[in-house]
């Protein structure tokens, strides 16, 4: 190792929302100099069976900013140890390790953004693309007393999906929640959105 002169990065923490995990830390500053950081990780297997092995992060070995998207590195639902060090030329800091290992099952799941439209008599929904980990549970119903709620599981992403062919003059409502298989958790439901079909009769 080079001579340790640089201070080690401090205040490591992970913000995780919808399975996107961002490791941040307080920057190390040396006036007039660019500091590079190296991020490494260790899953539960490595820390139990081969604790000397640390794996360089996919996107941050090195990186300039005091943050690192570790989403592609966290690929199992186990606790991950993470560490960062600063470098300036041949000078390197000591490693700073995240105080508590991070597990992706702690990610915050938010109600998904959706766009409900009607195309003629077709009820169509478009869902935001949250990545391959997500399935969408779409609930829709005709807004009338005692109406039955229909449910569809949608896996395709970013392309409008046909839900129903609507009756003239009726209003239909839709709400959605996400499901993440890897951590077996749901998001809360989104607010319901309703659309109404004009009253024309079906053209022959």
């Amino acid at each position: 190792d080079g001579v340790t002169v640089l201070p080690a990065p401090q205040n490591l923490s992970v913000q995780s929302t919808n399975m996107k995990h961002l490791l941040t830390w307080s920057p190390v500053t040396v006036p007039g100099e660019i500091i590079y950081y190296f991020v490494e990780y260790q899953g539960e297997y490595e820390s139990l069976y081969m604790s000397h092995i640390w794996i360089p992060s996919s996107w941050c070995s090195p990186t300039e900013g005091p943050e690192c998207d570790i989403t592609d590195d966290i690929t199992a639902t186990v606790p991950y140890k993470l560490r960062v060090r600063a470098t300036l030329g041949s000078q390197t800091s000591a490693w700073s390790t995240l105080q508590h290992p991070f597990n992706r099952n702690s990610t915050a799941l938010t109600p998904p953004v959706m766009e409900v439209t009607k195309d003629g008599f077709h009820l169509v929904i478009k869902l935001e693309d949250l990545g391959p980990q997500f399935e969408f549970l779409v609930a829709y119903w005709r807004r009338e007393p005692g109406a039955k709620e229909h449910v569809k599981v949608v896996r395709s992403r970013g392309i409008p999906v046909h839900l129903e062919t609507m009756e003239p003059g009726a209003a239909y409502c839709v709400k959605v929640q996400t499901f993440v298989k890897a951590i077996r958790r749901h998001s809360p439901f989104s607010q319901a959105e309703c659309v109404k079909v004009q009253g024309e009769t079906l053209p022959l």
């Binding site: 899953g43 490595e46 069976y49 639902t77 298989k181």
Partner: protein, 155 residues
């Protein structure tokens, strides 16, 4: 959501597609290093016609062997970062599965667990007949055979 169901043993929270993607990323590199094409460790006699009840005993023995013997020494030698990343995905997910498998230890299950043990011993003996380095490379390259078999129990 999908889960593994090895007879009475249920395992959630592992996405099989993630394991396939990890293995496919390194498959050509790993399998190209195995030039003993006349030997297959996970042969038919090990994996074919395994009953549901027996599958929990067998998969547990196989995964523990991979974790303790195959993976343990492979990562040291894996210089290529693609392999190290894929390796970590497989090892940590195998670790999750193995730690959730609790096969019954009751007496009446002895004949079934014995049958699973005999199958595992076939695999282990074939492994031990090779030079350790070649054996680890071959076992690593046969993870797709293991995943293909595990896929039958993924629902």
């Amino acid at each position: 959501g999908q889960e593994f169901q090895f007879g009475p043993c249920r395992v959630e929270g592992v996405v099989l597609q993630e394991l396939w993607e990890a293995f496919q990323a390194m498959k050509d590199i790993v399998q190209a290093k195995d030039n003993i094409t006349s030997v297959r460790l996970l042969r038919k006699e090990v994996l074919q016609n395994v009953s549901d009840t027996e599958s929990c005993y067998l998969i547990r023995a196989l995964l523990k062997f991979y974790l303790n013997t195959v993976f343990k020494n492979s990562l040291d030698k894996a210089a290529d970062s693609r392999i190290r990343k894929s390796f970590s995905t497989l090892a940590n997910n195998f670790f999750v599965i193995a730690s959730k498998l609790q096969p019954s230890q009751e007496k009446e299950m002895f004949s079934i667990s014995e049958s699973a043990r005999r199958r595992f011993l076939l695999f282990q003996r074939a492994f031990q007949q090779l030079d350790i380095q070649a054996a680890q490379t071959k076992a690593f390259g046969e993870v797709d055979i293991l995943l293909t078999w595990m896929e039958k129990f993924y629902q």
